[in-house]
């Protein structure tokens, strides 16, 4: 993507921040949100997160990686274990990244 295209993409993302964070404040009139809509929308961020993370972890060049010696898998396992132990996103990042770096730089995978 060229610099100019990226600029347009980022400008659009800024508009999306303004519009989503202020969505129900855009109108002068109050819109009641049907409860089933609210319930459905609550799954969207989780689904989006899962949809982005899964291919990044599981796929290499579009194919399921056959090699178990993949630092990403161990990083995710360590981060996951930390999260369910302590419930901290920061610790999940630090532990997972630490394991990945140890395997890449230390073990040489």
């Amino acid at each position: 993507m060229s610099g100019w295209q990226t600029f347009v993409a980022v400008a659009g993302l800024t508009v999306i921040t303004v519009v989503t964070r202020g969505f129900f404040l855009l109108s002068e009139r109050e819109w009641p949100l049907p409860p089933w809509v609210a319930r459905g929308l609550r799954y969207a961020p989780l689904a989006a997160l899962a949809a982005i993370v899964a291919p990044e972890v599981l796929l290499t060049d579009g194919a399921l990686a056959g090699d178990w010696k993949d630092p990403r898998l161990f990083a995710v396992a360590a981060g996951t274990a930390y999260f369910w132990w302590r419930r901290g996103i920061l610790g999940t990042i630090v532990v997972g990244t630490g394991v990945m770096l140890a395997l890449k730089l230390g073990v040489g995978w």
């Binding site: 993507m1 610099g3 990226t6 980022v10 400008a11 659009g12 993302l13 800024t14 999306i16 921040t17 303004v18 989503t20 964070r21 202020g22 969505f23 129900f24 404040l25 855009l26 109050e30 089933w36 609210a38 319930r39 459905g40 929308l41 609550r42 799954y43 969207a44 961020p45 989780l46 689904a47 989006a48 997160l49 899962a50 949809a51 982005i52 993370v53 899964a54 291919p55 990044e56 972890v57 599981l58 796929l59 579009g62 399921l64 630092p71 990083a75 981060g79 996951t80 999260f83 419930r87 901290g88 996103i89 920061l90 999940t92 990042i93 997972g96 990244t97 990945m100 770096l101 890449k104």
Partner: protein
């Protein structure tokens, strides 16, 4: 002067009846800052990773600075970066970011009850700065909706600190990104951040199933053009979530 930990600090009428002064805007601003300082350390680490990730996925320094200062939405940025790097069409990038931000749409319905009486430009300026933690902390502080003089200063203190604790580390990450070798694959820290965010959003059986369905769909549909696998996966996850809520309801709902 306020007694520290005064349980009635947020009830000006009661305080006045007891001969205490109503809470001053400055005290509310400070309280807004104080409440967010501790969790903001987590935000700062994430911002640092996001700053590094922006450069690592090939953004120029000016574009990365622009993205950080203007977009100011970490999960949407991290989600958009691989798509930008892959040269995905604009609408796919924007649709993905919009989906990442859908939780803010829900928050905004709530903010309406607190800030709905302000002029439109002011409302939108306020909510632009309202990130996840601000929302959670504000609702803890003011569970009852409606306008009140204490709310705006508290909100401003909260968003002031979270803005600083995001932008400064993000800029630091942008500045230091080139000192960190590419083969370290630190961009993966961004994936881990999203993973942690996903885990913290999981609550109850149905949300687990919806997430697993979305993950499986994203992998299975990976070869669709235009990164459409993300859109398909979100649709599948939401559909399964709504369906399960109808057929197999639980009391727990996904956390916002």
């Amino acid at each position: 002067m306020l007694a520290a930990g005064d349980p009635d600090a947020h009830r000006p009428t009661l305080r006045r009846r007891r001969g205490l002064p109503a809470v001053s805007p400055r005290e509310e601003f400070q309280r807004g800052v104080r409440d967010i300082v501790e969790p903001s350390f987590g935000i700062s680490a994430w911002a640092l990773v996001t700053g590094v990730a922006m450069i690592k996925t090939g953004l120029s320094v000016p574009l990365a600075v622009f993205m950080s200062l203007a977009v100011y939405a970490g999960s949407a940025q991290l989600a958009a970066l691989p798509l930008i790097a892959a040269g995905a069409p604009l609408w796919v990038i924007w649709a993905t970011a919009f989906c990442m931000n859908l939780r803010f749409v829900i928050f905004s319905a709530h903010w309406r009850k607190y800030f709905g009486h302000f002029p439109r430009a002011k409302r939108l300026a306020l909510t632009y700065f309202a990130a996840d933690l601000n929302y959670v902390l504000f609702l803890r502080r003011f569970p009852e909706p409606g306008p009140s003089p204490a709310r705006l200063p508290y909100f401003l203190g909260s968003v002031f600190w979270s803005w600083l604790s995001w932008q400064l580390p993000a800029l630091l990450g942008i500045a230091l990104a080139d000192r960190i070798p590419t083969e370290w694959d630190l961009g993966f820290a961004g994936v881990l951040a999203l993973l942690g965010l996903a885990y913290s959003t999981l609550s109850g059986r149905n949300s687990w199933i919806a997430a697993l369905v979305a993950a499986a769909a994203a992998v299975a549909a990976f070869h669709l053009p235009l990164k459409l696998n993300i859109v398909v996966a979100i649709a599948a996850g939401v559909a399964v979530g709504v369906l399960l809520d109808r057929l197999w309801p639980t009391t727990a709902e996904p956390r916002r």
